[in-house]
């Protein structure tokens, strides 16, 4: 049976060939991507032709990729710059950009990294990079001072300030409102924030057919993510059915995970039975000629007068 042809949508449509197909290109015209921002799609939503045009790189004319073009391309598709891989790529006879990306994807650590994780120290002072030192540092440092390193690691520096602020504030609000403890919930929350941002942007394009379909798709996706993560308000569970806990023994197990629970001292508020225990102890100690414990408050062993 013939294999079904799968088409992807290019959102850029700068190149003439891409434009003539209304951006609908077959899968081999796109680069795969595992980066968070494109994880839902599984590929970069810009076709190779449009990407090369954006980079001003023409491999069909026999041009070689320069460092400047590489950095520009990587910043668009949010992949990291790694010095070793670039040096290895220079020796390759194949098309350099594709070779570089395939080598990055093979590297386990770099597989999910974005442009923010690039080895910037190799580019500083390198005139071939085409970027000034200020340009390389500015965005990263600006976001880091404002939102902290954790936020920059989480979202990278590819978003403009308004989007970054929305993502981070929404993430923090969701984290505070829901009791998120599991790492899988945290990663789902990141995807929820990104999808919500996408919905906000798609809602501005509801007058177009593409905008409407994108809005619908993203909403369905958001609903699925919220269901999976259990972060819908309707999923908020009460104490009785939290994680299926329905017995005192499970509660004691759960409560003691935060440290040993010391039994309460009976000295604080002794009742008649505590007094009795103390009298018994004193009696047995006297049999062994040992000193007595503190005298009970209500001396039940002696008669008044």
């Amino acid at each position: 049976m013939a294999k079904k042809t799968v088409y992807y949508q290019c959102y850029s449509q700068i190149d003439e060939t891409c434009k003539s197909h209304d951006g609908k290109r077959i899968t081999k015209n796109f680069y795969n991507s595992n980066v968070k921002s494109f994880a839902e799609l599984g590929y970069v939503p810009i076709c190779k032709d449009c990407l090369f045009k954006m980079m001003d790189y023409h491999p069909d004319r026999g041009e070689d990729l320069t460092l400047n073009q590489l950095i520009h391309g990587l910043s668009i598709i949010n992949r990291p710059y790694i010095e070793n891989i670039w040096l290895m790529t220079l020796n390759s006879e194949k098309e350099r950009f594709g070779t570089y990306l395939s080598k990055v994807n093979l590297k386990r650590d770099a597989k999910d990294q974005g442009f923010a994780d690039s080895e910037i120290e190799f580019l500083i002072g390198n005139p071939d990079s085409g970027l000034s030192d200020d340009e390389l540092h500015f965005k990263n440092e600006d976001y880091t001072t404002k939102y902290g390193t954790e936020a920059v690691k989480r979202w990278g520096t590819k978003f403009d300030e308004e989007d970054f602020e929305f993502l981070e504030s929404y993430y923090q609000k969701m984290k505070e409102a829901n009791n998120i403890i599991y790492p899988q919930q945290l990663s789902l929350l990141e995807q929820i924030c990104l999808t919500t941002l996408g919905i906000n942007k798609a809602s501005a394009r509801l007058d177009t057919k593409d905008g409407v379909s994108m809005y619908k798709d993203l909403n369905a996706n958001l609903s699925k993510l919220l269901t999976d993560s259990g972060l819908r308000p309707i999923d908020k569970r009460s104490a009785a059915d939290m994680e299926g806990i329905n017995s005192f023994s499970q509660i004691s197990d759960f409560a003691e995970k935060n440290g040993f629970i010391k039994p309460e001292s009976p000295e604080q508020d002794p009742d008649i039975y505590d007094e009795e225990i103390k009298i018994l102890e004193n009696f047995y100690l006297s049999l062994m000629n040992q000193p007595k414990l503190t005298k009970p408050i209500k001396d039940l062993g002696e008669k008044d007068g």
Partner: protein, 182 residues
């Protein structure tokens, strides 16, 4: 003169301004994690006063009430390392002892307790009878178990928090399944 003002019942009206309603809302969605400090306080109290836990789960339909000496017995079992009881026949020694172990297994996760008798069958019979009585008197306690098994010469209770209560014979034949006094 009758007027709407005289028939108003502010405590019956549920709105955001009503403090009664606010209290209800506050407790409506409390998860176990929110209630954890309260549960820790309760567990700390019950680990020293297990008889109070029995009062906590009892209501007007509960068939029994603990005697004073049973309360002393239970408290001693929780507070002291070694407890020696010598009492007359039919004074519910075994019942109170098994109830104490049962509660200890509940409140201490991973607690392993052992009941011994001269003959294994005798120990198994005593424990079976008493455990069934405990379930009859406090049905809520049956829900604490993950699995249980009563056989001719064996009784094992496995709790949901990893604790266990079993019967061991004091004999050379049972030397493979040993237990340690702690």
């Amino acid at each position: 003169m009758a007027s709407y003002k005289n028939f108003r019942r502010p405590e019956k009206k549920f709105n955001s301004y009503n403090p009664i309603n606010n209290v209800k809302e506050e407790y409506k969605f409390k998860t176990l994690e929110d209630m954890l400090p309260v549960w820790r306080d309760y567990l700390s109290y019950w680990r020293s006063y297990p008889d109070k836990f029995i009062d906590f789960i009892s209501n007007e339909n509960t068939k029994i009430q603990l005697f004073g000496y049973q309360r002393v017995f239970l408290r001693l079992m929780f507070r002291k390392q070694y407890v020696f009881i010598s009492a007359a026949r039919g004074i519910s020694k075994s019942y109170t002892e098994i109830l104490g172990f049962y509660l200890k297994c509940m409140f201490y996760p991973g607690f392993e307790s052992v009941i011994t008798a001269a003959l294994k069958e005798q120990a198994a019979k005593i424990s079976k009878q008493n455990i069934q009585k405990i379930w009859e008197h406090f049905p809520i306690l049956k829900g604490e178990l993950k699995s249980w098994s009563f056989a001719k010469d064996m009784t094992i209770l496995n709790f949901k928090n990893g604790s266990s209560l079993e019967v061991v014979q004091i004999a050379v034949a049972d030397s493979g399944s040993r237990s340690m006094a702690t």
